[in-house]
């Protein structure tokens, strides 16, 4: 039985492809973008998070922990990560949902069962399922099985990818995807490496190849003030895309709604908080890109 690690299945997603969708978030990402608002998606393994404000200090977690990894200090449970074996017993015992395991091993069947729950909404809205992440192609066999099952059940599929994946994998999966949401961040390779952890050659190359064979690609461009919203990057992006066959470019304005997650995960957020781009800036970028004969759409 093929299984994968999923960190969220979100129903009524309305910004990740057409219509009403269920977005399945697969865990693990080769990139680590500074602005990432889903930091729990990055590591491929399971992680435990702690919601301090939900904790009622009952001590149930500490009492059940088989490896004595949790000590209660001043009413707050402190977990020693080294000792924790991620058995999940404390999560089961915690009555207040203060402990949560990010990442759940799921079979293809069980994911499909969740997806099918909203069939009536997909049918009504021409929606479907979006596989996102992390990088969904990072679990390519699992993703392929999911896509096969959706194809069989005539459910529209979208795959939201960073493009940072071997061409062989992309090529193999592509015929089963109804719509690609392809993220493009920075054109300059060095700058790309600085802010995402990897260089962009593979990403650009893959997009070239993919778009020559498939014409169902929406490019998603996150607008991060001060990082990729400069004229030069926008123009280079426009130039690059104008040579390809893509259906549209979506501008996704930066936001920092997810920054609390870093704290819960015990990590730090690298980006010094940047304000979301102004509407003027967004329409300016949209204007520039439009000049390259691109269909530009604000937001998802």
């Amino acid at each position: 039985m093929t299984t994968g690690i999923i960190f969220n299945i979100q129903r009524y997603s309305i910004h990740d492809g057409p219509g009403i969708r269920t977005t399945v978030f697969l865990k693990g990402c080769p990139l680590s973008c500074w602005w990432c608002q889903n930091p729990e998606s990055q590591l491929s393994g399971q992680e435990m998070i702690f919601w301090g404000d939900r904790c009622i200090s009952c001590g149930a977690c500490s009492a059940i922990c088989p490896s004595s990894a949790i000590q209660i200090k001043n009413g707050i449970p402190i977990t020693e990560k080294e000792k924790c074996i991620l058995c999940g017993k404390c999560i089961e015992k915690c009555p207040a949902l203060a402990r949560e395991m990010i990442g759940k091993k799921m079979t293809v069947e069980s994911v499909i069962k969740e997806i099918e729950k909203d069939l009536v909404f997909y049918e009504e809205s021409d929606g479907g399922v979006t596989f996102s992440g992390g990088e969904p192609l990072g679990q390519s066999e699992f993703l392929e099985s999911l896509l096969n099952a959706c194809q069989e059940k005539k459910i529209h599929t979208a795959v939201d990818t960073s493009g940072y994946i071997s061409w062989e994998i992309l090529e193999k999966v592509a015929p089963k995807v109804n719509l690609f949401l392809y993220d493009l961040k920075i054109m300059d390779s060095e700058r790309h490496r600085k802010y995402t952890g990897v260089s962009n050659e593979i990403i650009l190359e893959n997009l070239k190849k993919l778009s020559s064979a498939y014409h169902n690609i929406s490019v998603r461009f996150p607008v991060i003030p001060g990082i990729n919203d400069d004229d030069q990057n926008i123009r280079e992006t426009g130039e690059f895309l104008s040579s390809l066959k893509i259906t549209q470019v979506n501008l996704l304005p930066y936001h920092y709604i997810g920054i609390d997650k870093y704290k819960r995960l015990g990590r730090t957020y690298k980006l010094v908080i940047t304000q979301p781009p102004s509407e003027e800036k967004l329409s300016e970028i949209s204007g520039i890109l439009s000049k390259f004969n691109l269909k530009v759409k604000l937001r998802g």
Partner: protein
């Protein structure tokens, strides 16, 4: 809106509502003069006539649709023959900060010296309580059920199209014909019928004379009017009022004025919950609109102005305040006039027309709480219609609500109505299905499902008072299975429904005998043909409803018991009872366990949803089909208005984690905060209820504005609604959360766990965000769609 409408609208909003003693005075005079000398239907008709002949009338500056229940806009009469306000009541309404009605010292004096002495022992409220058993009173006081007819007359009916085809001279002919057909030799009821029909005749004449007073008033004003366009308008008003309601209307203006006279008549005769409204207004007015546009005698602009003036008239009539504890607990200015738009025509074709869109524009511009409005969405309705409504819904002031036209019709067919009558019906009040103009569909009271479970868990005793008001269904500790517990609940349910219906059957007869409504009866089929009053079974269809409240709370409570007590044995029944008795004090971990680790209704989880179905079916089987005294039967509804707050206030802590006194769930919505998987999951859960067995269900869904942004936000909203209706939903009310709601969510996260914030590529629950981010979203919300 134009200058006239803006001025009238502002006046309506700015005028402080006040109690007008005029009606009480005139009604008392008429009773003193006629009571005991004529039959009761005749008495009620003479009271109606006396009122319409003598009440003060006015035509406001700039008004083109005329007539008020009081002497001026916002003047609110009382109905002492139903329930009589005490001086303390008057002081309370006058002095309170919110929803105050001013009462003058002079009026208080009249109330004390004239009204109270006459009505003290004669009002319906007194009569009703005198006739109710100790057992009924115990249940009433415990908050098992409420009683609708205790302060208001039976209502909940809506006009159909007959008043646009017939004037009251035509109705007089019908009544006379019916009188001539009376068979005194063979029909033992012929005398009662004769008196009822004579009463109708008096009322039909009275409403025409009432309109004549407006004609005279308009002519009088015209004579002294210097401004010549206004002078012309006043002459036109005089012309309109001399034609309707005596005759059927000839044009758009007359059609609106026709309805308005009928409306004023109905709400002056009795205080009938004021759900009375024109119903399918776009259908009724369209022939006039179309004809006049074609002939060039009306413009779209003029039609809109007339409609907007008509809208304001509704807002000018606040709901008469209640008495006693109900007055102290409830405060509202608004009644439940709920105008229907769209739907299907009598022949099954799509009912949406150009006037429907014009009315939607009116709703959008007027933004008045009264009249309330809804759209009846059918599979045939164009998307443009739904999306136009969606644009208004998105603005977040609560209108229009959305109904499933096919389901509403199916509900009526299941109840045995003809397909034509069903298609010409709709929904009124909050969500109640009815055959407009042909049915008396009375809500008799809310029923507290949660309290019945509480009493079951206490073997018949109400733990709040220690009184034994239920039956002994066994100590819960001795119940061995969930099935046994459910049976015990069903037995208690049977016991309490018996008590409620026994009381209803008496109350209904009291109204049939002492408080007929001959004016209303004229316009409801088939009262004239049968010679019977609306309150005595004269209508073509006679349905009584009991409205179940708290389905979410009771489902989750039973789910906790099934899951944690019987199946997983995480807690014993004994401990559960102890924890509930102590209102979870010192047992927060147990409460959290119940709240967070139990399958709960609203998450598309069959475990919980199956329990919902069990409770729903138990309630349905207990009530549906029982006979009432008017030749009809009982049905169920699943709506709370605001009663879920009162019912929560009398119920102790419940197993779902709800603390004592907190509101129970409303309508068929999940418990506040229990649904955690978004709107599609809620819809799937709610649709598992076989809603066609009801006469209305109410589903509320909260949306943050971000979910409705842009054209796509509207499209997806439309898809969501269509999908719910495809699954069999009756109604959905979409509330766009205000910044105030979000602030409340910051304070009480538990109850708002379901608030989703959506941004492309990311989504979270509002309560997962830090305070700073929440504040940011709040401030963004304040600047949206306004």
């Amino acid at each position: 809106m134009n200058e006239r409408v803006e001025k009238l609208r502002q006046e309506s909003l700015d005028t402080q509502p006040y109690i007008s003693i005029e009606r009480a005075n005139l009604v008392t005079e008429a009773y003193q003069k006629y009571a005991g000398t004529v039959s009761i239907p005749a008495l009620r008709a003479l009271v109606f006539r006396h009122l319409l002949e003598n009440k003060s009338i006015s035509i406001g500056e700039g008004e083109i649709i005329v007539g008020e229940r009081g002497e001026h806009p916002q003047a609110t009469p009382s109905f002492p023959e139903l329930c009589c306000h005490s001086i303390e009541d008057f002081n309370l309404i006058n002095d309170r900060e919110k929803i105050a009605f001013k009462v003058s010292e002079e009026d208080k004096k009249i109330q004390e010296e004239k009204i109270i002495p006459y009505w003290e022992n004669r009002s319906m409220r007194g009569r009703i309580f005198k006739e109710m058993t100790r057992q009924w009173k115990d249940c009433y006081e415990a908050g098992i059920f409420t009683e609708f007819m205790e302060q208001r007359a039976p209502g909940h009916t809506v006009a159909d199209d007959k008043i646009y085809h017939k004037g009251f001279l035509d109705f007089q002919k019908d009544i006379k014909k019916s009188l001539q057909n009376l068979d005194y030799l063979n029909d033992v009821e012929s005398y009662q019928k004769q008196e009822e029909l004579k009463a109708m005749l008096i009322c039909a004449k009275a409403i025409i004379s009432f309109a004549k007073r407006y004609t005279d008033k308009a002519l009088e004003l015209a004579r002294s009017e210097k401004n010549s366009p206004r002078k012309m308008e006043l002459l036109k008003i005089a012309e309109v009022c001399s034609h309707v309601p005596a005759n059927s209307p000839r044009n758009f203006w007359e059609a609106l004025q026709m309805y308005w006279f009928v409306h004023v008549g109905v709400i002056s005769e009795l205080n009938t919950w004021d759900s009375f409204n024109p119903g399918r207004l776009d259908q009724h007015l369209y022939p006039f609109y179309k004809k006049e546009l074609e002939e060039g005698t009306l413009t779209e602009e003029k039609a809109k102005e007339l409609l907007e003036c008509f809208w304001i008239k509704f807002n000018n009539q606040p709901a008469p305040p209640k008495v006693g504890v109900t007055l102290a607990e409830s405060g509202t200015y608004t009644d439940f006039a709920n105008i229907n738009n769209g739907g299907l025509k009598i022949d099954g074709e799509d009912g949406v027309n150009e006037l429907t869109y014009l009315i939607l524009d009116v709703i959008d511009e007027m933004r008045l709480l009264q009249p309330s409005t809804n759209i009846q969405l059918s599979r045939k309705s164009p998307d443009r219609f739904l999306k136009r409504a969606g644009e208004i819904i998105r603005k977040g002031w609560g209108q229009p609500s959305v109904f499933n036209a096919e389901k509403v019709i199916e509900e009526m067919l299941r109840q045995g109505k003809s397909i034509e009558d069903a298609r010409c019906g709709g929904t009124s009040g909050c969500v109640e299905t009815g055959a407009f103009g042909k049915e008396s569909y009375i809500l008799t009271g809310y029923f507290n499902l949660v309290k019945v479970l509480e009493i079951t868990l206490n073997n018949g005793i109400d733990p709040r008072t220690g009184k034994k008001i239920g039956i002994e269904t066994g100590e819960p500790i001795q119940l061995n299975s969930f099935a046994e517990l459910l049976q015990a609940f069903k037995n208690q349910l049977h016991h309490f429904i018996d008590i409620k219906i026994r009381g209803n059957n008496i109350i209904e007869r009291l109204y049939a005998i002492y408080m007929p409504a001959p004016f209303l009866s004229i316009i409801i089929s088939d009262c004239i043909e049968k010679g019977k009053d609306y309150n005595a079974g004269g209508a073509r269809y006679n349905t009584d409803y009991i409205q179940g409240v708290g389905i979410g709370t009771i489902t989750d409570s039973l789910s906790v018991i099934k899951y944690h007590v019987f199946e997983h044995k995480n807690i014993s029944m004994e401990k559960l009872k102890k924890v509930l008795k102590g209102n979870f004090a010192g047992h927060e971990e147990v409460r959290q366990l119940f709240l967070n680790k139990t399958p709960r209704y609203g998450n598309d989880d069959d475990y919980a949803d199956d329990i919902m179905k069990l409770v729903f079916n138990a309630f349905y089987q207990e009530v549906n089909g029982r006979k009432n005294t008017k030749g009809g039967v009982y049905r169920i509804n699943m709506l709370p208005t605001t009663c879920h707050i009162y019912f929560g206030s009398v119920a102790g802590a419940t197993p779902d984690g709800r603390k004592a006194g907190q509101p129970v769930s409303e309508g068929i919505s999940p418990v506040q905060g229990a649904d955690r998987l978004g709107p599609t999951a809620v819809i799937k859960s709610a649709a598992k209820m076989d809603q066609v067995k009801t006469g209305g269900t109410l589903l509320n869904q909260k949306f943050t504005p971000q979910l409705l942004e842009g054209e796509e936000g509207i499209n997806n909203l439309a898809h969501l609604i269509r999908a719910y209706f495809k699954l069999g939903g009756h109604h959905i009310q979409l509330n766009v959360v205000s910044s105030a709601t979000l602030r409340a969510a910051q304070k009480e996260p538990e109850e708002y766990r379901n608030l989703i914030v959506r941004v492309a590529g990311y989504s979270d629950y509002f309560n997962n965000l830090s305070k700073t981010l929440q504040d940011e979203i709040i401030s963004r919300t304040e600047h949206q769609f306004c």
